[in-house]
């Protein structure tokens, strides 16, 4: 947990030139930027799914004009008064806020998916590596409580390097906290769908992300508990190339399905029709 700095890949967004073309970070194909953006950053050549911001994700999934955000004012806590070599966590958080325009690494709210209302949480990897901390956990718990009250499905899109070590043990506890919320939904018979996007690691994969009624992933997403480098150091061998990819997890029984970004919204809508039969 907390290894997100290491396991995080270079954010390839930087590699996209300013001009007319975007460059696919995997296959290096040049793609018309318009085409790339309208395909929500999926490479038409190699199906690489580039990371999305929370806003992009919401635009992709939620019917236009229906998203109502919850608790956007919740900002990072600093329970440990944490400082490291490069300065204070407080400053780091302020910088992330300034950079992303978000107050935390997750955006929560309710919205319609092809007309079916659901509660949705979307993590944003740009905000401190999508790390799970007290405010992240709190927002997710509040979202699950809203879903419980309103008898709605909960959908969480994960993108995270793990727990946010700057909040120490308090961030670890968010794993138990968010799972307690999921457990209540489960007892109430309400659906919880987890969608894992690249990357989903550590404290997030070891809590709410992997205990969906359905666990879904985007193609090529990296998902795991420990980071590849930590494992290679531990076992002293090289891991296969496809280690911890969504495809690898599907083969090992941990995913219900891998869904292309372009089909995700319709897929979720279809799935919700099965899951809400008893409740609505």
């Amino acid at each position: 947990m907390g290894w997100f700095k290491r396991s995080a890949r270079k954010t390839p967004q930087n590699e996209i030139p300013e001009g007319l073309f975007a460059v696919c970070p995997r296959c290096k194909a040049h793609i018309y930027k318009d085409e790339y953006e309208s395909a929500f950053k999926v490479c038409p050549k190699c199906n690489h799914h580039e990371r999305l911001t929370a806003a992009e994700r919401i635009e992709l999934i939620v019917d236009k004009g229906t998203f109502r955000e919850f608790n956007s004012e919740i900002k990072p806590n600093d329970p440990l008064d944490f400082k490291d070599a490069k300065g204070s966590y407080r400053q780091k958080a302020e910088d992330a806020i300034a950079k992303t325009g978000l107050n935390e690494a997750v955006v929560t709210g309710s919205g319609d998916i092809n007309g079916t209302r659901a509660v949705i949480a979307v993590m944003d990897f740009r905000f401190l590596g999508g790390s799970l901390a007290s405010a992240t956990g709190e927002k997710i718990l509040l979202a699950s409580e809203h879903a419980l009250r309103m008898k709605r499905a909960l959908l969480i899109f994960s993108a995270s390097g793990g727990a946010r070590m700057h909040e120490g043990i308090v961030s670890l506890m968010q794993m138990a906290k968010t799972c307690a919320g999921i457990a209540r939904l489960d007892r109430a018979g309400l659906p919880y769908i987890s969608i894992m996007t690249d990357p989903t690691y550590g404290g997030v994969s070891a809590s709410f992300a992997t205990v969906g009624d359905l666990n879904i992933a985007e193609p090529g997403a990296l998902i795991g508990f420990a980071g590849r480098r930590v494992i290679e150091q531990t076992i002293k061998e090289k891991l296969p190339d496809d280690f911890q990819t969504a495809e690898y997890l599907l083969e090992h029984g941990f995913l219900d399905s891998i869904v292309n970004r372009g089909e995700m919204k319709d897929y979720l809508h279809r799935v919700l029709q099965y899951s809400l039969g008893k409740k609505v």
Partner: protein
């Protein structure tokens, strides 16, 4: 086996041992001298242990002679029946459990086993469970729920094992499943952090109604060495990280993460395992008595509230909305 901040203690201990070999008839001052040394040692011990840094505490929590889960079983329980296997794939050696009797309480006792000799350490994978360990633990907890037995979890692990097969068999899912299921269990759950509370690997059996912690145990989201390597780019600065991470029992009590500190004897559990284990037994028994009086629904609601409170963020007006 001494920690460096205990060197002075070790020297006095040695002198006492030397003097004790002498004949008190030839050395009339002997008993008085030994007595003085003992008093000196006692006060020095107290002084050292009152001024431990968090990093010192990490060292104590990992001390070779610190009582391990098997020592607690032997010392706390009048009966223990180990129950093996996850019914899926294997029997983890790092995370074990079974029926146990503590005082008059029949419980399901679960904990990590580290081992003390090299062979034992290897056999028990240094106390680092694989997914089948967490799944065995969950199976036993569900059995406890069926039989109405309280659950006692004793935590002492550096981490969940970061291995290839652990990933393939779903280490993340196994821990996540436990967190989710433990939230809903209809029996009391007592957690005791006895040594190393290593991140998600510890939390995987540490969702409880009461979280107790030995005074010199630690509980952290990341090992201080790892944190230092990331944040200071220098694993040698682990002591600073240990400080920053607030991983001692005292800090965790302040943060509302744990409910009670079990005091260790002066000089730490490794100097007096027996007293440590006895105090742990007493604390567990008291907690069991208290929790057993609560109704099932109440227990579960309280457990939810307990974790929901952790890191609760006061809503603040954001700048943009003034």
């Amino acid at each position: 086996m001494n920690l460096e901040f205990e060197n002075e203690l070790a020297e006095i201990e040695e002198r006492i041992a030397e003097l004790s070999k002498l004949d008190s008839k030839e050395h009339p001052q002997l008993n008085k001298d030994i007595g003085a040394l003992r008093r000196k040692m006692k006060s020095l011990t107290r002084r050292i242990y009152e001024n431990l840094t968090p990093w010192d505490t990490v060292r104590i929590a990992r001390h070779h002679d610190r009582p391990l889960f098997k020592d607690f079983i032997a010392g706390m329980c009048s009966d223990f029946i180990e129950l093996h296997g996850d019914r899926r794939c294997g029997d983890d050696k790092a995370l074990i459990g079974g029926f146990a009797t503590i005082d008059k309480h029949r419980v399901m006792l679960i904990g990590m086993v580290k081992g003390r000799t090299v062979d034992e350490k290897v056999h028990h994978n240094f106390g680092m469970p694989n997914p089948e360990g967490y799944r065995k633990a969950l199976r036993l907890m569900k059995l406890a729920e069926k039989y109405g037995l309280p659950i006692v979890c004793m935590v002492d692990t550096p981490a969940a094992y970061p291995g290839r097969e652990a990933e393939e068999r779903g280490q993340a899912e196994a821990i996540a499943r436990n967190l989710t299921e433990m939230a809903g269990l209809e029996v009391p759950i007592v957690v005791v952090i006895t040594g190393e509370g290593g991140s998600g690997g510890a939390l995987g059996i540490a969702v409880g109604d009461a979280i107790l912690m030995l005074r010199y145990a630690v509980y952290s989201v990341i090992p201080p060495e790892g944190c230092a390597a990331i944040l200071w780019r220098d694993a040698e600065r682990a002591p600073e990280a240990a400080d920053a991470l607030k991983i001692t029992a005292e800090s965790l009590l302040d943060l509302g993460i744990i409910d009670q500190i079990i005091d260790e004897p002066p000089g730490g559990a490794h100097r007096d395992p027996e007293t440590t284990i006895e105090r742990t037994r007493e604390a567990v028994v008291e907690t069991l008595q208290r929790l057993k009086r609560q109704s099932t629904a109440r227990l579960r609601d309280n457990r939810y509230d307990k974790f929901a409170r952790m890191g609760r963020v006061k809503k603040r007006r954001s700048k943009s909305s003034k």
